[in-house]
């Protein structure tokens, strides 16, 4: 009975422990995601029609942050064919059509006839849009009209697409658009046409209508019939219509009844679809950099989308990361994000397997770094080594020293990437430890897709150190003698008594210290050699060929290796590269090795200038 009770207690203990220490929320996919409410777009108003060359068009009244603004410009070229309208700053081009109407003459300075053009742009308002917008049109487009239209929804999430077509015959209007921009219930459509005459406008058009396979259109409302007689005349109409239901499967057609003189009711038409849809976010690319006290970054630590390793404990570093925007445009400051990090479970995978992410703060193991000069939220300075995402346009955003962050610099259109710069540091993280990074929405929900997961590894501990130097790279014996031993000297003249030719200084903090090896050949001249002493420490023997070295060690814990440590000399070329010295404790204290070289020759030693190049290599084992 007691056993049964203990068993139940243990079972409950493990259940509770399991729930506490496991990622139970993700296991049960909790909290459940909440579906967004049905989209609802309202056409609000239009600004005044501009008809002159002022190239300034008034904003509609009451523009608020998150509103969708659409700018239409119709023009007739009089001096320059295929004139263009430059996309106004902060606006995004939707679609355009030039040289339309089927007249085949462009430019045409004749009033009431000729090809015309239409351009369209959109912007998600930031609430500062008042008075008028300046825009730039080629000088050849002398007669034009322009107007801005305002739409609202409850989320400020927008996706805009458009298509164009052309009516090339007189009479009533029928414009088959060239493509299906994708239309569905809840969308709103803005339709427009430009004609080269104002003979009957602004009361020429009626019964504007749309047809599109799969779509049920709501009531079409005419917004305006912009026209002017200034210059060589221009006209047209603009309508709006909500989409009641359905999903498009073909390009739309726009029709209208034209009254009065319809001879020149010909020209381009445009079909712009606005949809309430939130942007999607993909963590699309990254690169690690060295930190600098600037909104710019230092040299790259690794290639793009490649793991990097910090060189020293406590290193500051920079992470530049891209978020790709899909579905709907991200309006300026349209979403708050935060950066999180996690201890890597071997590999930083996009499923976060085995990783527990937490917010990066100023005090976490991987922490935000406060650089002296730049401030959190400053605009980043682009760098030639910044990450890229295919051919996507990159919209530079902010330099970040703290969570949260957003796109304060500019909106990011669909299909483009925002770039942020995170100032980070190893804030006491364990050595040789890999960490992963991800961006999350500030409400603690994941973004839509993680294509890449940045990974950085902390330094292996104390900064590895290894020093090695040779005091003199050229030494000499002078003239050898069969009657006396010669010792090499730094001035190359040699000595009859043993002296130090050069020193080697070495140190490391490697766990297993270092070894120094020598490699090369004995003294050689024109195929003749002076015998290397070999692997046994041997005393000088006058009149016998000998070439060898010996070393003494001072300072530190380094020691000379056998056979070079005794009072005799050796040069074990048979075992080259041969160890000459070692320090096994890696205490980072320098040891100075005094290196002495001996040379003896025999009477049989051929005359000549003998030389040898010995290479000393230090290898630390960490």
């Amino acid at each position: 009975m007691n056993i049964k009770k203990y068993g139940q207690f243990i079972l409950i203990f493990f259940i509770i422990t399991g729930l506490v220490f496991s990622d139970w929320s993700s296991f049960f996919n909790f909290p459940l995601s909440i579906n967004k409410a049905e989209a609802s777009i309202t056409y609000q108003s239009a600004g005044a029609v501009t008809i002159s060359h002022a190239h300034a068009v008034g904003y509609p009244a009451s523009v608020a942050s998150g509103d969708l603004l659409v700018l239409l410009i119709g023009y007739k070229a009089t001096a320059l064919a295929s004139s263009v309208v430059t996309t106004p700053a902060g606006w995004t081009a939707i679609t355009s059509l030039t040289d339309a109407g089927g007249y085949g003459v462009d430019p045409d300075a004749t009033p009431d006839v000729g090809d015309t053009a239409i351009f369209s742009f959109y912007k998600i308002a930031d609430g500062t849009e008042t008075n008028s917008l300046l825009y730039e049109v080629d000088a050849g487009a002398s007669t034009l009209w322009a107007q801005i239209y305002r739409f609202t929804n409850s989320t400020a999430d927008w996706n805009v697409a458009g298509t164009t077509g052309s009516d090339t015959t007189a009479g009533n209007v029928s414009i088959a658009m060239s493509a299906d921009p994708g239309v569905a219930g809840g969308d709103y459509v803005l339709g427009a046409m430009v004609i080269p005459t104002d003979v009957t406008t602004p009361s020429q058009f009626s019964a504007e209508a749309f047809t599109q396979t799969g779509v049920t259109f709501g009531t079409v409302t005419e917004i305006s019939e912009p026209d002017t007689s200034v210059g060589i005349d221009i006209g047209g109409f603009v309508v709006s219509v909500p989409i009641s239901s359905g999903t498009s499967s073909a390009a739309p057609t726009m029709t209208a009844t034209a009254g009065g003189t319809t001879t020149n009711v010909r020209g381009p038409g445009i079909f712009i679809r606005a949809r309430e849809v939130p942007p999607t976010f993909t963590q699309s690319a990254y690169r690690f950099f060295n930190n600098v006290n600037s909104t710019d970054v230092g040299s790259a630590l690794a290639s793009q989308d490649t793991v990097a390793t910090l060189s020293s404990t406590g290193d500051a570093f920079r992470l530049r990361m891209l978020l790709h925007i899909g579905a709907g445009e991200l309006s300026s400051s349209g979403q708050d994000f935060k950066l999180q990090f996690a201890l890597s479970n071997g590999i930083c995978d996009t499923s976060f397997t085995g990783e527990t992410y937490v917010d990066v703060t100023a005090s976490t193991d991987i922490a935000y770094n406060n650089n002296a000069t730049p401030a959190d939220g400053d605009n980043l300075t682009s760098n030639a080594n910044d990450p890229t995402h295919g051919g996507d346009t990159i919209v530079n955003q902010d330099y970040e020293e703290l969570n949260n962050f957003t796109n304060t610099v500019a909106a990011i259109p669909v299909g483009q990437d925002g770039k942020w710069d995170f100032a980070l540091k190893d804030n006491g993280a364990p050595a040789s430890t890999a960490y992963c990074f991800r961006v999350r929405k500030s409400d603690d929900t994941n973004i839509d897709t993680y294509s890449v997961i940045p990974q950085i590894t902390t330094s292996s501990g104390a900064t590895q150190s290894l020093t090695f130097s040779i005091s003199d790279n050229t030494i000499g014996f002078g003239n050898f003698s069969t009657g006396a031993t010669r010792y090499a000297t730094g001035d190359t003249t040699g000595s009859a008594s043993e002296v130090e030719a050069h020193t080697i200084i070495a140190s490391t903090n490697a766990t297993n210290g270092y070894v120094i090896t020598v490699n090369g050949t004995t003294l050689t001249y024109d195929g003749n050699t002076i015998d290397a002493i070999g692997g046994t420490n041997t005393a000088s023997s006058v009149g016998v060929e000998q070439f060898g070295l010996r070393m003494t060690a001072t300072g530190g814990d380094g020691s000379v290796s056998v056979p070079y440590a005794a009072s005799g000399f050796a040069l074990d070329t048979a075992n080259f590269p041969d160890q000459v010295a070692t320090d096994s404790n890696g205490n980072d204290v320098s040891t100075t090795y005094s290196v002495r070289y001996i040379g003896n020759i025999a009477t049989s030693t051929r005359a000549g200038l003998y030389g040898s190049t010995l290479t000393y290599i230090i290898t630390a084992t960490y």
Binding site: N512, Y597, Y610, I617
Partner: protein, 371 residues
């Protein structure tokens, strides 16, 4: 029936409890939750040159904390910037590992040499270089020759020291700036670490020394003689000038030695025996035996000691005196510094027609060393 149902239900509950227990135990304490990238140890990189801007082989050795036995395992070697890879490829890389775990990598035996290819296959590790990053990717079976075990020592050779499946032909060029540089080891195999290496402006010591040129040459007796020449017997010169009827002793010797690389040569110059306008005919360039009653003047050389040698036609037991080719080489020796003693013998025969008189000649011997 009732008891049976109770028993059955209790059994099911117990089985469920056991499964729950096992599940929770594994879930909580599964080692999968504790596998992180761990530091490698015993890591080193042996270079063949630490000299700036100089090509070098690399032998990278380290002990892996986890091993590598999955097809997804990679071992990544990140070379420091400024080191020119010269686009080395898999043929310039060797991957080997020890059999079983090691306590360190001081002197391991790398018994397993893995085959490498540009991309991994069922048997080959992939070895791909991108920028400064060499990525070794495990075979598709994750094993290759054999899986890399926990705590195994791994050796990666890059350069002409890579010999498995062929010898590499491309080395890495050291950074042009002396200093310390870090080679990174990482990858999904779970090992992480750095190796600091040191680049010097010059890691070599050039040593020079001169062996002076030595040459020695001496003639034991500058005056020798035949005595009275005879048409009925050969005469041989002697140091006492009296001559001899037998060829048993050297008229004189000369000693020669040098340490010149190409040794030495000794030549003779002068004329045959002459008395006024009369001469005793020189034997010529072909060694011939003594011919009594026929005019002959000639010499031959004997090597009494040393490593030198007499030169034809003076080297045999016959005689010659090739005045046509004077100065004519009579001996040579190597530059071994060994002194060679040449014994020089002279012969003269006269005929009944040979004019009476005092015949003499002065012969010059010259030694030349070839350094």
């Amino acid at each position: 029936m009732f008891k049976k149902n109770i028993f059955f239900n209790t059994l099911i509950l117990k089985i469920i409890n056991i499964f729950l227990f096992i599940f929770l135990f594994i879930y909580i304490f599964s080692p999968l939750q504790f596998i992180y990238a761990l530091g490698i140890d015993s890591q080193s990189d042996i270079l063949t040159s630490q000299k700036a801007s100089t090509v070098s082989n690399h032998t990278i050795v380290f002990r892996t904390p986890i091993g590598a036995g999955q097809s997804t395992d990679t071992i990544v070697v990140t070379l420091p910037s400024g080191f020119t890879t010269n686009s080395f490829d898999f043929a310039d890389v060797d991957l080997a590992h020890s059999a079983g775990g090691q306590t360190d990598c001081v002197a391991p035996t790398f018994t397993n040499d893995e085959a490498l290819a540009a991309t991994p296959s069922a048997t080959d590790w992939g070895a791909a270089l991108s920028g400064q990053v060499l990525t070794l990717t495990a075979p598709t079976d994750g094993v290759g020759v054999t899986a890399i075990t926990t705590n195994a020592c791994i050796r990666i050779k890059i350069g002409t020291n890579a010999t498995t499946g062929g010898t590499g032909n491309t080395q890495i060029t050291n950074n042009a700036t002396p200093g310390s540089y870090i080679i990174g080891i990482s990858g999904t195999f779970g090992g992480l670490g750095d190796i600091t290496i040191n680049i010097l402006s010059d890691d070599q010591v050039s040593i020079i020394g001169t062996v002076n040129e030595v040459i020695s040459f001496s003639i034991s007796d500058p005056n020798i003689g035949f005595g009275v020449l005879s048409s009925s017997s050969a005469r041989y010169a002697t140091g006492d000038n009296n001559g001899s009827v037998s060829d048993t002793a050297d008229a004189h010797t000369f000693s020669a030695s040098t340490n010149a690389s190409s040794g030495y040569s000794i030549i003779i110059n002068g004329a045959t025996l002459t008395s006024g306008i009369n001469t005793v005919t020189a034997i010529g360039g072909t060694a011939v035996a003594s011919s009594v009653g026929t005019e002959q003047f000639g010499i031959r050389l004997i090597v009494n000691s040393g490593t030198g040698s007499a030169t034809s036609p003076y080297a045999s037991s016959n005689w010659a005196f090739d005045t046509v080719n004077f100065p004519d080489q009579v001996a040579s020796g190597s530059g071994d510094g060994t002194s060679t003693v040449f014994g020089v013998r002279y012969i003269s025969n006269v005929s009944v027609l040979t004019e009476a008189g005092d015949y003499n000649t002065a012969l010059s011997y010259i030694i030349t060393a070839n350094y």
